[in-house]
């Protein structure tokens, strides 16, 4: 500890440089970052560069790759690449929105549970364990039965599935942070609990929450694909990677490539987020390192 403290911006710039160096030393994390960037590009830019994913050319079914259709066409003569790009967008929306929704609800619950403890904490944790261990798909299937099958309901069901992990992590952060001196100082200053949670606990939990986001997004991507595959998510003729696999299953011997592309993209996107998450965990959150 130096006598003259460095001004904040300089310190945080230095910290940023150090973190980036630590990240760049991990080849697998870079592979993950590249995969994630490619996925984002496909989802965000892809749909603008490809033909209409719903346009059918019934004379051109199961076409091989050509200049016209870079990856060929599907059973209804729709451009495969366009459908993959449109499916990427659906995956991205499902992954990001469900994670964001789970965080908006879960972080305050977790922080409050860890900060106040008392009677609240055991109740929250018990409920949390209950949701955590329940077979998610049975829940999601029941959810779709009651509220109907749509992307919106998939996102809501997924965010409920992601909730327990977010609650557990933010609670853990609050349990550690509440014992630290600066929180005690704020209490002595007369700060209200809500102020402490959002001014002190939330910013200091940021690293752990970023790592959780890289776990939540791929879980959401797979969840959307599974539910759409089962007919409980995106409905035809919409394009979702899971839904594309459902129709591809009928034409496995005729057009195996239709079953390979969407699944490979799900696997690569998920792998990308997992590798990136592992890398970020090492760099940002050494306590959680395994």
């Amino acid at each position: 500890m130096s006598v003259v403290a460095a001004p904040m911006p300089v310190a945080s710039v230095r910290r940023g440089v150090r973190l980036r160096r630590r990240f760049l030393r991990r080849p697998m994390a870079i592979v993950g970052l590249v995969l994630v960037v490619l996925f984002l590009a496909l989802a965000i830019i892809g749909p603008f560069l490809t033909p209409d994913p719903l346009a059918q050319e019934l004379t051109q079914t199961f076409a091989s790759p050509s200049a016209h259709h870079l990856l060929g066409t599907d059973d209804l003569g729709r451009d495969e690449l366009a459908r993959l790009a449109s499916g990427a967008r659906v995956s991205l929306v499902a992954g990001v929105l469900s994670t964001a929704l789970a965080m908006v609800v879960g972080v305050p619950i977790g922080l409050a549970s860890g900060y106040f403890k008392g009677w609240l904490d055991p109740v929250v944790m018990r409920l949390n364990d209950t949701v955590l261990a329940f077979p998610f798909l049975i829940f999601a299937v029941g959810f779709a039965a009651i509220f109907g099958a749509s992307l919106r309901n998939v996102v809501i069901a997924l965010s409920i599935g992601l909730l327990p992990t977010i609650v557990r992590v933010s609670r853990g952060e609050a349990l550690v942070l509440r014992e630290l001196d600066f929180v005690g100082g704020a209490v002595a200053d007369g700060a209200r609990p809500a102020g402490i949670m959002f001014r002190y606990l939330l910013p200091n939990s940021f690293n752990a929450l970023i790592v959780q986001a890289t776990v939540g997004i791929p879980t959401g991507i797979i969840g959307e694909a599974v539910l759409s595959f089962l007919g409980l998510g995106v409905q035809p003729p919409g394009a979702s990677w899971g839904l594309m696999l459902t129709s591809a299953q009928q034409f496995l011997s005729q057009a195996p490539q239709l079953a390979i592309y969407p699944g490979a993209l799900i696997a690569l996107a998920t792998l990308g987020f997992n590798l990136l998450g592992d890398g970020l965990r090492d760099v940002l959150d050494p306590r959680e390192r395994r």
Binding site: L132, L245, A259, I266
Partner: protein, 317 residues
């Protein structure tokens, strides 16, 4: 230990109660009045009222709930709307199929996952560790249902080694049954083995850095014996993880059964939802909740039995 069992059993009952209320409320919240449906098009208000009365739909909700619980306790979950068979009969046919699939998947998962985790921890940073870690990451990233499709594509469509789908009962023809179950069980078991591998690795690495292992090394115990001691203590974690994975396993079975057209519990669930077969949905959810609560109770008890420290720590938790 007595108090521990009591407390856990009590919280299981609470969970069961909350879930049954949720299912009851959820199904009642569905659009459509069952009495109107049953009465048909030319129903008089008197007929509708009579049907309401006959099925107890005119009773207050708490009374309806009590009736529904007592019916469920007697194994009466109503009649399936698509084929007029009692839901309990359907469940009794379907559940053993899924149990067989889950059992095979657990066997495969443990046989691959635990040894891979041990090798990976012992040969940390070496080639074997690298290989198992890669396998673990891929196992976590590749979705079950795609793996299933690929397996069908390779082993059924291309190589013609195994049938693509279909099911033969274990009692009818055990050999044919296994031939048809091996692909689904492998698909379901791979994901589980990836999780078990990662957990075994980290638990064993944690144990190997403990003082007692250092002492064992200092007194000249062979590496084999050191690992044996550490592994014994790691297995507590692995058991819990296996317990926590049961939910994921059931979810996986839902998808796997759908791909391989296996008439199990999962396929029943999805079909019931797609056909809006509400009595079956209710039965499925209640049975799942019940099974899940019972299994979790057993896992917790096994855990407390394996690790006596928890019985004390649990009291202050």
């Amino acid at each position: 230990m007595g108090m521990f069992i009591l407390r856990r059993a009590f919280s299981s009952v609470v969970v069961l109660f909350l879930c049954s209320v949720a299912v009851f409320a959820g199904v009642r919240a569905l659009p459509g009045d069952p009495a109107l449906v049953m009465a048909g098009e030319n129903a008089t208000p008197q007929l509708i009222a009579a049907i309401r009365h006959q099925f107890g739909l005119d009773q207050p909700l708490p009374v309806q709930y009590a009736d529904y619980v007592s019916q469920a306790f007697h194994g009466n979950f109503g009649i399936s709307t698509t084929d007029q068979i009692p839901v309990a009969t359907i469940l009794a046919q379907r559940i053993p199929v899924t149990l067989e699939l889950a059992f095979l998947a657990i066997v495969i998962g443990v046989l691959i996952g635990v040894p891979a985790g041990v090798v990976s921890a012992v040969r940390r940073g070496k080639f074997a560790d690298w290989v198992s870690n890669g396998f673990g990451l891929i196992g976590l990233s590749v979705p079950h249902f795609w793996l299933g499709l690929l397996a069908i594509l390779v082993f059924a469509v291309r190589l013609h080694w195994l049938p693509a789908s279909g099911f033969v009962g274990l009692a009818e023809d055990p050999v044919e049954n296994l031939r048809r179950m091996i692909m689904p069980a492998l698909v379901l078991g791979t994901g589980l083995s990836a999780v078990l591998m990662r957990q075994t690795r980290s638990a064993l690495l944690g144990q190997l850095s403990e003082d007692y292992v250092r002492t064992a090394r200092a007194k000249g115990l062979s590496q084999r014996a050191q690992i044996r001691h550490a592994l014994r203590n790691s297995l507590t974690t692995v058991t819990t993880v296996l317990g926590l994975q049961l939910g994921a396993l059931i979810s996986g079975a839902v998808v796997t059964e759908q791909i391989f057209v296996i008439p199990g519990f999962g396929k029943l669930t999805v079909d019931a939802v797609l056909q809006r077969n509400y009595p079956v949905i209710e039965g499925v959810v209640i049975v799942t909740v019940f099974g899940y609560v019972v299994v979790n109770l057993l896992v917790d008890l096994a855990y407390a039995w394996l690790n006596p420290r928890l019985r004390v720590a649990g009291a202050s938790r």
